[in-house]
Amino acid sequence: MIQTSAMTEIAEKLPMSMSQVLSGFPSEWREVWLQTPLPAFSLISTTSLTDEVLRVLRELESNGVSLKDKANVHEYLLLFPGLIDVLQEAVKSVRKHLGGCQLIVEVYRDPEIEDHYLKLCVRLKGYDESVLERLEAAEAEFIDRLVHVEGWLQVTTDFKEPEDAL
């Protein structure tokens, strides 16, 4: 038997649809479920990459990360799933080193060569000489992870002001 708080933690990890199903029920109903020998409603799904990518993108958006051309970002992460965890780590690192900044994720396509990669663009209210150093410090925390996966994630800034709506 598990406690409600642990159930909440598990629900957060599950595909969105199951999380929403679980969180929509009153807590006393969940307790009844937890007391049955086997759950009336199966909590475990067959692991799906589509589910995982959708969940991660929703989490990023709910944490204030903007997704430019979301369908392309979704498709890129499906093709290069090794970047899913790296992207989440990169967002944490950037926030740690650059504080309150606007973050935009998009798939960048090089117009001159056949190459595309994931870009995490940072926008600040003001830029000083320490920005590039702080970006490098953020990148240093996850760049080693990129060695073992296909695809690429580039953290950068375009030195623009944060926008209200993207």
């Binding site: 159930m7 598990i10 649809s17 692991t47 799933p81 090794g82």
Partner: protein, 244 residues
């Protein structure tokens, strides 16, 4: 044999085998398995994932979320890959769907390679999951025109929904197997997009003998086909371009 469609809505198919805890497993297993499948799945990567582990105790099921390392083995084109984790092997297929005739041999390859590598004592769970993304051009539609599985709204309720999730589980073989069917709305500007998600799985640990696993997978596929057809109307079949 199911219907054929020119534009099937499938975005992902997954076949997953979770081995029982008494199956021996160690760090060499992924490498040994890779040697057996690298002809078809040559590109190897690794990543961390979070997953839920179930332990069946006398008082009930105990759930733990843990982080584990997965090895991913990609076929050329990266649309088909095998995932290897502790006592877990899954075959993922992204669209375009190569049909069951194209996918089934890959599942068989993964499974027989696994059985040749480790002494599989039993299956904790087997799952075959089909995820469909269905988009209609209009942002306002009547669900009953397209689906035979959708939420029913009583006459006293508002008749226009912004979003919904509806999920049902059906039991097969006296509860040995279950099929979870879920219809969910998805974000889509100026359009109506839904995920129709069908997950057929072994609900009873060790409910299927190791030697019968592939037959189970075949039956799971047939049941999923039947459920899928049962969830949609001819209007959706037209949208998918049914090949008659």
């Amino acid at each position: 044999m199911g219907k054929k469609y020119a534009k099937p809505p499938l975005v992902e198919v997954v076949c997953e085998f979770r081995l029982s805890s008494d199956t021996p497993w160690d760090l060499t297993v992924p490498g040994l398995l890779y040697e057996k499948v690298k002809g078809e799945f040559p590109h190897r990567e690794q990543r961390l994932t979070q997953e839920v582990e179930i332990k069946h105790e006398p008082k009930g099921a105990q759930y733990q979320v843990r982080t584990s390392e997965r090895i991913l083995l990609f076929a050329e084109g990266r649309r088909l890959f095998i995932q290897l984790g502790p006592r877990l092997v899954a075959v993922n297929c992204l669209s375009p769907y190569p049909t069951w005739a194209g996918l089934r041999p890959k599942i068989e390859k993964a499974w027989t390679s696994l059985v040749d590598t480790v002494e599989v004592k039993g299956l904790e769970r087997i799952g075959l999951r089909y995820i469909n993304q269905i988009t209609m051009a209009s942002s306002v539609i009547r669900l009953e025109d397209y689906f035979q599985f959708y939420p029913y709204l009583g006459t006293a309720l508002p008749q226009q929904m912004i979003s919904f999730i509806i999920s049902s589980e059906f039991a097969y073989h006296d509860g040995r197997d279950r099929c979870r069917v879920q219809l969910t709305t998805a974000e889509a500007p100026q359009a109506s997009t839904f995920f129709l998600d069908i997950d057929y799985f072994l609900a009873q640990p060790k409910g299927v003998a190791v030697g019968d696993v592939l037959a189970w997978v075949d039956e799971a596929h047939d049941q999923i086909e039947a459920i899928f057809e049962g969830c949609i109307t001819d209007r959706l079949r037209e949208l998918f371009g049914e090949v008659k």
